[in-house]
Protein backbone atom coordinates (compact mmCIF):
# COMPACT_ATOMS: atom_id res chain seq x y z
CA UNK A 1 0.00 0.00 0.00
CA UNK A 2 1.38 3.34 -0.99
CA UNK A 3 1.61 6.18 1.49
CA UNK A 4 -0.37 8.56 -0.71
CA UNK A 5 -3.42 6.32 -0.57
CA UNK A 6 -4.05 7.64 2.91
CA UNK A 7 -4.93 10.91 1.21
CA UNK A 8 -8.25 9.27 0.38
CA UNK A 9 -10.41 10.06 3.43
CA UNK A 10 -12.24 6.74 3.13
CA UNK A 11 -8.99 4.75 3.16
CA UNK A 12 -7.69 6.92 5.99
CA UNK A 13 -10.84 6.42 8.07
CA UNK A 14 -10.89 2.67 7.50
CA UNK A 15 -7.26 2.23 8.31
CA UNK A 16 -7.17 4.48 11.36
CA UNK A 17 -10.29 2.78 12.67
CA UNK A 18 -8.22 -0.38 13.04
CA UNK A 19 -4.98 1.28 14.15
CA UNK A 20 -6.32 3.79 16.64
CA UNK A 21 -7.13 1.40 19.54
CA UNK A 22 -3.67 -0.13 19.18
CA UNK A 23 -2.01 3.27 19.10
CA UNK A 24 -3.80 4.31 22.28
CA UNK A 25 -3.08 1.00 23.99
CA UNK A 26 0.60 1.11 23.08
CA UNK A 27 0.86 4.78 24.10
CA UNK A 28 -0.79 3.99 27.43
CA UNK A 29 1.47 0.99 28.02
CA UNK A 30 4.65 2.88 27.13
CA UNK A 31 3.65 5.91 29.20
CA UNK A 32 2.71 3.77 32.19
CA UNK A 33 5.96 1.79 31.95
CA UNK A 34 8.17 4.82 31.42
CA UNK A 35 6.55 7.04 34.04
CA UNK A 36 6.12 4.41 36.77
CA UNK A 37 9.61 3.09 36.16
CA UNK A 38 10.97 6.61 36.12
CA UNK A 39 9.08 7.89 39.15
CA UNK A 40 9.35 4.92 41.49
CA UNK A 41 12.19 2.65 40.40
CA UNK A 42 15.04 5.00 39.63
CA UNK A 43 17.45 6.32 42.26
CA UNK A 44 17.46 10.01 43.25
CA UNK A 45 20.10 12.18 41.68
CA UNK A 46 22.88 12.94 44.16
CA UNK A 47 22.48 16.69 43.74
CA UNK A 48 18.98 17.21 42.41
CA UNK A 49 17.28 14.74 44.73
CA UNK A 50 13.93 13.48 43.56
CA UNK A 51 13.21 16.60 41.47
CA UNK A 52 15.22 14.98 38.70
CA UNK A 53 12.24 12.73 38.04
CA UNK A 54 10.31 15.51 36.36
CA UNK A 55 12.60 14.83 33.41
CA UNK A 56 10.28 11.96 32.43
CA UNK A 57 7.54 14.48 31.69
CA UNK A 58 9.58 17.51 30.75
CA UNK A 59 11.93 16.14 28.11
CA UNK A 60 9.35 14.05 26.17
CA UNK A 61 6.81 16.87 26.07
CA UNK A 62 9.42 19.41 24.96
CA UNK A 63 10.62 16.97 22.31
CA UNK A 64 7.08 16.43 21.04
CA UNK A 65 6.24 20.16 21.17
CA UNK A 66 8.92 20.81 18.57
CA UNK A 67 8.19 17.70 16.54
CA UNK A 68 4.49 18.56 16.44
CA UNK A 69 5.37 21.83 14.73
CA UNK A 70 7.64 20.02 12.29
CA UNK A 71 4.85 17.57 11.54
CA UNK A 72 2.51 20.51 10.92
CA UNK A 73 5.10 22.01 8.57
CA UNK A 74 5.38 18.78 6.58
CA UNK A 75 1.59 18.37 6.46
CA UNK A 76 1.22 21.99 5.32
CA UNK A 77 3.73 21.46 2.55
CA UNK A 78 1.91 18.31 1.42
CA UNK A 79 -1.35 20.27 1.36
CA UNK A 80 0.16 23.12 -0.65
CA UNK A 81 1.88 20.82 -3.12
CA UNK A 82 -0.51 17.88 -3.51
CA UNK A 83 -3.80 19.35 -2.24
CA UNK A 84 -4.70 16.39 -0.02
CA UNK A 85 -7.41 17.50 2.37
CA UNK A 86 -6.48 14.89 4.98
CA UNK A 87 -3.05 16.46 5.21
CA UNK A 88 -4.43 19.93 5.89
CA UNK A 89 -6.79 18.53 8.50
CA UNK A 90 -3.96 16.61 10.15
CA UNK A 91 -1.99 19.84 10.48
CA UNK A 92 -5.04 21.51 12.01
CA UNK A 93 -5.53 18.57 14.35
CA UNK A 94 -1.90 18.58 15.52
CA UNK A 95 -1.79 22.23 16.59
CA UNK A 96 -3.78 22.02 19.86
CA UNK A 97 -1.86 18.87 20.81
CA UNK A 98 1.38 20.74 20.17
CA UNK A 99 0.19 23.67 22.29
CA UNK A 100 -0.57 21.31 25.15
CA UNK A 101 2.87 19.71 24.97
CA UNK A 102 4.47 23.17 24.90
CA UNK A 103 2.49 24.17 27.98
CA UNK A 104 3.41 20.94 29.79
CA UNK A 105 7.07 21.52 28.99
CA UNK A 106 6.93 25.13 30.20
CA UNK A 107 5.01 24.19 33.35
CA UNK A 108 7.13 21.21 34.36
CA UNK A 109 10.22 23.29 33.61
CA UNK A 110 8.98 25.99 35.97
CA UNK A 111 8.18 23.44 38.67
CA UNK A 112 11.67 21.98 38.35
CA UNK A 113 13.36 25.38 38.07
CA UNK A 114 11.87 26.69 41.29
CA UNK A 115 13.83 24.38 43.65
CA UNK A 116 16.84 23.96 41.33
CA UNK A 117 17.49 27.42 39.95
CA UNK A 118 15.59 29.26 42.67
CA UNK A 119 13.23 30.81 40.15
CA UNK A 120 10.10 29.84 38.25
CA UNK A 121 11.20 31.60 35.15
CA UNK A 122 14.45 32.85 33.65
CA UNK A 123 14.97 34.59 30.31
CA UNK A 124 17.13 31.75 29.19
CA UNK A 125 17.34 31.09 25.43
CA UNK A 126 15.60 27.72 25.61
CA UNK A 127 12.81 28.94 27.84
CA UNK A 128 12.35 32.04 25.73
CA UNK A 129 12.31 30.05 22.49
CA UNK A 130 9.61 27.82 23.91
CA UNK A 131 7.53 30.79 24.93
CA UNK A 132 7.88 32.15 21.40
CA UNK A 133 6.97 28.75 19.96
CA UNK A 134 3.86 28.86 22.12
CA UNK A 135 2.96 32.27 20.63
CA UNK A 136 3.42 30.88 17.11
CA UNK A 137 1.07 28.01 17.95
CA UNK A 138 -1.50 30.48 19.28
CA UNK A 139 -1.38 32.56 16.11
CA UNK A 140 -1.72 29.45 13.94
CA UNK A 141 -4.75 28.16 15.85
CA UNK A 142 -6.33 31.62 15.94
CA UNK A 143 -6.00 31.94 12.17
CA UNK A 144 -7.66 28.55 11.65
CA UNK A 145 -10.48 29.60 13.93
CA UNK A 146 -10.97 32.99 12.27
CA UNK A 147 -11.56 31.88 8.68
CA UNK A 148 -14.81 30.28 7.67
CA UNK A 149 -14.05 28.77 4.28
CA UNK A 150 -12.10 25.54 4.99
CA UNK A 151 -9.91 25.62 1.87
CA UNK A 152 -8.95 29.26 2.32
CA UNK A 153 -8.16 28.56 5.97
CA UNK A 154 -6.01 25.58 5.01
CA UNK A 155 -4.09 27.61 2.43
CA UNK A 156 -3.51 30.60 4.67
CA UNK A 157 -2.50 28.59 7.73
CA UNK A 158 -0.14 26.47 5.62
CA UNK A 159 1.68 29.55 4.37
CA UNK A 160 1.70 30.97 7.90
CA UNK A 161 3.20 27.70 9.13
CA UNK A 162 6.02 27.88 6.58
CA UNK A 163 6.81 31.55 7.20
CA UNK A 164 6.41 30.96 10.94
CA UNK A 165 8.89 28.07 10.83
CA UNK A 166 11.52 30.30 9.28
CA UNK A 167 10.93 33.02 11.84
CA UNK A 168 10.75 30.56 14.73
CA UNK A 169 14.16 29.26 13.70
CA UNK A 170 15.46 32.83 13.40
CA UNK A 171 14.07 33.62 16.85
CA UNK A 172 15.73 30.52 18.26
CA UNK A 173 19.16 31.75 17.19
CA UNK A 174 18.36 35.38 17.93
CA UNK A 175 17.59 34.63 21.58
CA UNK A 176 20.74 32.53 21.75
CA UNK A 177 22.60 35.65 20.72
CA UNK A 178 20.64 37.87 23.06
CA UNK A 179 21.02 36.18 26.43
CA UNK A 180 23.21 33.69 28.20
CA UNK A 181 21.76 30.32 29.00
CA UNK A 182 20.88 28.81 32.34
CA UNK A 183 19.37 25.64 30.88
CA UNK A 184 21.72 22.68 30.52
CA UNK A 185 22.63 21.48 27.07
CA UNK A 186 21.06 18.46 25.44
CA UNK A 187 21.70 15.24 27.33
CA UNK A 188 20.32 13.01 24.61
CA UNK A 189 21.76 12.83 21.17
CA UNK A 190 21.68 10.48 18.24
CA UNK A 191 25.25 10.92 17.17
CA UNK A 192 27.14 12.04 20.26
CA UNK A 193 28.09 10.30 23.44
CA UNK A 194 25.22 10.09 25.88
CA UNK A 195 25.68 12.08 29.09
CA UNK A 196 23.13 10.28 31.12
CA UNK A 197 23.39 7.08 33.11
CA UNK A 198 21.48 4.06 31.85
CA UNK A 199 19.24 3.89 34.93
CA UNK A 200 17.79 7.27 33.97
CA UNK A 201 18.16 6.88 30.25
CA UNK A 202 16.09 3.75 29.65
CA UNK A 203 12.86 4.90 31.32
CA UNK A 204 13.34 8.28 29.64
CA UNK A 205 13.48 6.70 26.21
CA UNK A 206 10.38 4.65 27.01
CA UNK A 207 8.60 7.84 28.11
CA UNK A 208 9.61 9.62 24.92
CA UNK A 209 8.28 6.69 22.93
CA UNK A 210 5.05 6.88 24.93
CA UNK A 211 4.64 10.59 24.26
CA UNK A 212 5.35 10.04 20.58
CA UNK A 213 2.69 7.31 20.38
CA UNK A 214 0.28 9.45 22.36
CA UNK A 215 0.84 12.30 19.92
CA UNK A 216 0.24 10.03 16.93
CA UNK A 217 -2.90 8.58 18.50
CA UNK A 218 -4.30 12.00 19.43
CA UNK A 219 -3.57 13.46 16.01
CA UNK A 220 -5.21 10.51 14.27
CA UNK A 221 -8.24 10.80 16.52
CA UNK A 222 -8.51 14.55 16.00
CA UNK A 223 -8.01 14.19 12.24
CA UNK A 224 -10.88 11.68 12.18
CA UNK A 225 -13.01 14.18 14.04
CA UNK A 226 -12.08 16.89 11.56
CA UNK A 227 -12.92 14.63 8.61
CA UNK A 228 -16.31 13.84 10.15
CA UNK A 229 -16.93 17.52 10.82
CA UNK A 230 -16.04 18.29 7.24
CA UNK A 231 -18.47 15.62 5.99
CA UNK A 232 -21.19 17.06 8.16
CA UNK A 233 -20.43 20.51 6.79
CA UNK A 234 -20.70 19.19 3.22
CA UNK A 235 -23.95 17.36 3.96
CA UNK A 236 -25.51 20.46 5.53
CA UNK A 237 -24.39 22.53 2.57
CA UNK A 238 -25.97 20.03 0.17
CA UNK A 239 -29.19 20.06 2.18
CA UNK A 240 -29.37 23.82 2.04
CA UNK A 241 -28.76 23.81 -1.70
CA UNK A 242 -31.52 21.26 -2.33
Amino acid sequence: MKFWEFANPRVFMGWTDKVLPWAFALAGAALATGLIWGFFFTPDDFRQGSTVKIIYLHVPSAFMAINAWIMMLVASLIWLIRRHHVSALAAKAAAPVGITFTLIALFTGAVWGQPMWGTWWAWDPRLTSFLILFLFYLGYVALWAAIEDPDTAADLTSILCIVGSVFALLSRYAVLFWNQGLHQGASLSLDKEVYIADVFWLPLVVSIGGFLLLFVALVLLRTRTEIRARRLFALRLRERMA
Binding site: I132, L135, F136, L138, G139, A142, L143, A146, I147, T152, D155, L156, I159, L160, I162, V163, G164, F167, A168, L170, S171, A174, V175, F177, W178
Partner: protein
Protein backbone atom coordinates in the same frame (compact mmCIF):
# COMPACT_ATOMS: atom_id res chain seq x y z
CA UNK B 1 4.74 50.27 -9.21
CA UNK B 2 6.05 53.78 -8.70
CA UNK B 3 2.61 55.21 -9.35
CA UNK B 4 1.12 52.83 -6.81
CA UNK B 5 3.82 53.74 -4.32
CA UNK B 6 3.15 57.47 -4.71
CA UNK B 7 -0.61 56.90 -4.58
CA UNK B 8 -0.30 55.00 -1.30
CA UNK B 9 1.88 57.66 0.26
CA UNK B 10 -0.58 60.36 -0.81
CA UNK B 11 -3.51 58.42 0.61
CA UNK B 12 -1.67 57.94 3.88
CA UNK B 13 -0.76 61.64 4.16
CA UNK B 14 -4.26 62.95 3.50
CA UNK B 15 -6.81 63.23 6.25
CA UNK B 16 -7.94 59.92 7.69
CA UNK B 17 -4.85 58.20 6.39
CA UNK B 18 -3.42 57.80 9.84
CA UNK B 19 -0.05 59.29 8.96
CA UNK B 20 0.37 61.21 12.22
CA UNK B 21 -1.32 58.56 14.32
CA UNK B 22 1.67 56.27 14.62
CA UNK B 23 3.90 59.17 15.64
CA UNK B 24 1.37 60.41 18.19
CA UNK B 25 1.00 56.90 19.58
CA UNK B 26 4.77 56.61 19.87
CA UNK B 27 4.92 59.93 21.75
CA UNK B 28 2.15 58.85 24.12
CA UNK B 29 3.79 55.50 24.75
CA UNK B 30 7.10 57.14 25.61
CA UNK B 31 5.30 59.64 27.85
CA UNK B 32 3.56 56.84 29.72
CA UNK B 33 6.72 54.87 30.50
CA UNK B 34 8.04 57.21 33.24
CA UNK B 35 4.61 57.12 34.90
CA UNK B 36 5.00 53.37 35.08
CA UNK B 37 8.63 52.98 36.09
CA UNK B 38 9.36 56.30 37.80
CA UNK B 39 11.63 59.16 36.82
CA UNK B 40 14.94 57.77 38.05
CA UNK B 41 17.46 58.93 35.43
CA UNK B 42 19.66 55.84 35.80
CA UNK B 43 16.73 53.47 35.27
CA UNK B 44 15.28 55.44 32.36
CA UNK B 45 18.54 55.79 30.50
CA UNK B 46 19.15 52.08 30.93
CA UNK B 47 15.82 51.01 29.47
CA UNK B 48 15.51 53.86 26.94
CA UNK B 49 16.81 52.04 23.82
CA UNK B 50 14.65 49.01 24.49
CA UNK B 51 11.54 51.07 25.22
CA UNK B 52 12.04 53.11 22.07
CA UNK B 53 12.43 49.96 19.98
CA UNK B 54 9.36 48.30 21.47
CA UNK B 55 7.45 51.57 21.09
CA UNK B 56 8.41 51.91 17.43
CA UNK B 57 7.39 48.31 16.86
CA UNK B 58 3.96 48.78 18.43
CA UNK B 59 3.42 52.09 16.62
CA UNK B 60 4.15 50.56 13.23
CA UNK B 61 1.65 47.81 14.10
CA UNK B 62 -1.18 50.37 14.30
CA UNK B 63 -1.42 51.20 10.62
CA UNK B 64 -0.76 47.70 9.25
CA UNK B 65 -4.38 46.77 8.57
CA UNK B 66 -4.66 49.80 6.30
CA UNK B 67 -2.13 48.38 3.87
CA UNK B 68 -4.65 46.12 2.13
CA UNK B 69 -8.00 46.38 3.96
CA UNK B 70 -9.19 49.69 2.48
CA UNK B 71 -8.17 48.68 -1.03
CA UNK B 72 -9.95 45.39 -0.59
CA UNK B 73 -13.14 47.12 0.51
CA UNK B 74 -13.43 49.45 -2.48
CA UNK B 75 -12.26 46.88 -5.00
CA UNK B 76 -8.90 48.47 -5.78
CA UNK B 77 -7.15 45.28 -4.78
CA UNK B 78 -9.03 43.29 -7.43
CA UNK B 79 -7.99 45.82 -10.04
CA UNK B 80 -4.40 45.62 -8.85
CA UNK B 81 -4.49 41.82 -8.96
CA UNK B 82 -5.48 41.90 -12.63
CA UNK B 83 -3.10 44.76 -13.44
CA UNK B 84 -0.03 44.08 -15.60
CA UNK B 85 2.37 44.35 -12.64
CA UNK B 86 2.82 41.14 -10.62
CA UNK B 87 1.13 40.94 -7.24
CA UNK B 88 4.56 40.61 -5.64
CA UNK B 89 5.37 44.07 -6.99
CA UNK B 90 2.12 45.43 -5.56
CA UNK B 91 3.09 44.05 -2.15
CA UNK B 92 6.56 45.61 -2.30
CA UNK B 93 5.18 48.98 -3.40
CA UNK B 94 2.58 48.98 -0.63
CA UNK B 95 5.03 47.83 2.04
CA UNK B 96 7.50 50.49 0.90
CA UNK B 97 4.79 53.15 1.11
CA UNK B 98 3.93 51.92 4.60
CA UNK B 99 7.58 52.17 5.58
CA UNK B 100 7.97 55.71 4.22
CA UNK B 101 4.86 56.89 6.04
CA UNK B 102 5.43 54.95 9.28
CA UNK B 103 8.85 53.39 9.80
CA UNK B 104 10.96 56.26 8.54
CA UNK B 105 9.17 58.98 10.56
CA UNK B 106 9.39 56.74 13.62
CA UNK B 107 13.13 56.32 13.08
CA UNK B 108 13.55 60.09 12.96
CA UNK B 109 11.26 60.66 15.94
CA UNK B 110 13.00 58.09 18.16
CA UNK B 111 16.16 60.14 18.88
CA UNK B 112 14.02 63.16 19.78
CA UNK B 113 11.85 61.07 22.10
CA UNK B 114 15.05 59.59 23.49
CA UNK B 115 15.67 62.96 25.12
CA UNK B 116 12.55 62.41 27.22
CA UNK B 117 13.94 59.09 28.44
CA UNK B 118 17.48 60.40 29.11
CA UNK B 119 18.92 58.28 26.35
CA UNK B 120 22.75 58.31 26.71
CA UNK B 121 24.54 60.51 24.18
CA UNK B 122 25.75 58.10 21.46
CA UNK B 123 22.38 56.37 21.53
CA UNK B 124 20.51 58.97 19.47
CA UNK B 125 22.45 58.31 16.31
CA UNK B 126 22.37 54.53 16.89
CA UNK B 127 18.63 54.48 17.37
CA UNK B 128 18.18 56.37 14.13
CA UNK B 129 20.49 53.92 12.34
CA UNK B 130 19.02 50.72 13.79
CA UNK B 131 15.42 51.84 13.32
CA UNK B 132 16.10 53.02 9.78
CA UNK B 133 17.61 49.61 8.98
CA UNK B 134 15.13 47.53 10.97
CA UNK B 135 11.76 49.14 10.22
CA UNK B 136 11.64 48.00 6.56
CA UNK B 137 11.56 44.44 7.91
CA UNK B 138 8.71 45.45 10.24
CA UNK B 139 6.72 46.89 7.32
CA UNK B 140 7.39 43.85 5.16
CA UNK B 141 6.44 41.33 7.87
CA UNK B 142 3.44 43.48 8.69
CA UNK B 143 2.36 43.46 5.04
CA UNK B 144 2.43 39.67 5.17
CA UNK B 145 0.24 39.69 8.29
CA UNK B 146 -2.10 42.24 6.69
CA UNK B 147 -2.38 40.06 3.60
CA UNK B 148 -3.27 37.07 5.79
CA UNK B 149 -6.09 38.89 7.57
CA UNK B 150 -7.37 41.00 4.67
CA UNK B 151 -10.48 38.87 4.17
CA UNK B 152 -11.59 39.10 7.79
CA UNK B 153 -14.09 41.59 9.13
CA UNK B 154 -12.38 42.18 12.45
CA UNK B 155 -8.85 41.09 11.75
CA UNK B 156 -7.12 43.76 13.82
CA UNK B 157 -6.50 41.76 16.98
CA UNK B 158 -5.65 38.61 15.06
CA UNK B 159 -3.21 40.64 12.99
CA UNK B 160 -1.26 41.63 16.11
CA UNK B 161 -1.25 38.06 17.37
CA UNK B 162 0.14 36.84 14.06
CA UNK B 163 2.64 39.60 13.45
CA UNK B 164 4.16 40.22 16.88
CA UNK B 165 5.87 36.80 17.21
CA UNK B 166 7.32 37.34 13.74
CA UNK B 167 8.78 40.64 14.95
CA UNK B 168 10.90 38.95 17.63
CA UNK B 169 14.20 38.51 15.72
CA UNK B 170 14.08 42.05 14.34
CA UNK B 171 13.44 43.49 17.78
CA UNK B 172 16.21 41.45 19.39
CA UNK B 173 18.88 42.44 16.91
CA UNK B 174 17.72 46.06 16.69
CA UNK B 175 17.58 46.66 20.43
CA UNK B 176 20.77 44.66 20.97
CA UNK B 177 22.68 46.79 18.47
CA UNK B 178 21.53 50.00 20.12
CA UNK B 179 22.24 48.70 23.63
CA UNK B 180 25.71 47.44 22.71
CA UNK B 181 26.65 50.62 20.90
CA UNK B 182 25.57 52.71 23.89
CA UNK B 183 27.58 50.49 26.24
CA UNK B 184 30.60 51.06 24.04
CA UNK B 185 30.85 47.48 22.82
CA UNK B 186 31.28 46.32 19.26
CA UNK B 187 27.87 46.44 17.61
CA UNK B 188 28.73 45.36 14.08
CA UNK B 189 27.55 41.76 14.43
CA UNK B 190 23.96 42.45 15.54
CA UNK B 191 23.79 45.35 13.08
CA UNK B 192 24.71 43.07 10.20
CA UNK B 193 22.24 40.43 11.39
CA UNK B 194 19.54 43.12 11.58
CA UNK B 195 20.35 44.19 8.03
CA UNK B 196 20.26 40.53 7.03
CA UNK B 197 16.76 40.11 8.43
CA UNK B 198 15.59 43.21 6.58
CA UNK B 199 17.10 42.08 3.29
CA UNK B 200 15.81 38.54 3.71
CA UNK B 201 12.30 39.78 4.49
CA UNK B 202 12.27 42.13 1.52
CA UNK B 203 13.56 39.38 -0.76
CA UNK B 204 11.29 36.52 0.32
CA UNK B 205 8.17 37.78 2.05
CA UNK B 206 6.63 39.47 -1.05
CA UNK B 207 6.21 35.99 -2.53
CA UNK B 208 4.50 34.67 0.59
CA UNK B 209 2.32 37.79 0.84
CA UNK B 210 1.33 37.63 -2.81
CA UNK B 211 0.47 33.93 -2.48
CA UNK B 212 -1.70 34.74 0.52
CA UNK B 213 -3.39 37.62 -1.31
CA UNK B 214 -4.20 35.34 -4.24
CA UNK B 215 -5.85 32.89 -1.85
CA UNK B 216 -7.83 35.70 -0.25
CA UNK B 217 -8.95 37.12 -3.59
CA UNK B 218 -10.16 33.76 -4.86
Amino acid sequence: MLALFIRDIRLAMRAGGGFGLALAFFLILVTLVPFGVGTDVAVLSKIAPGILWVGALLSSLLSLDRIFALDREDGTLDVLATAPIPLEGVVIAKAAAHWVTTGLPLAFAAPALGVLLHLPAPGHLWLLITLAIGTPALSMIGAFGAALTVGLKRGGLLLSLLVLPLYVPTLIFGAETAARAIAGQAATTPLLLLAGITLGSVALLPFASAAVLRVNLR
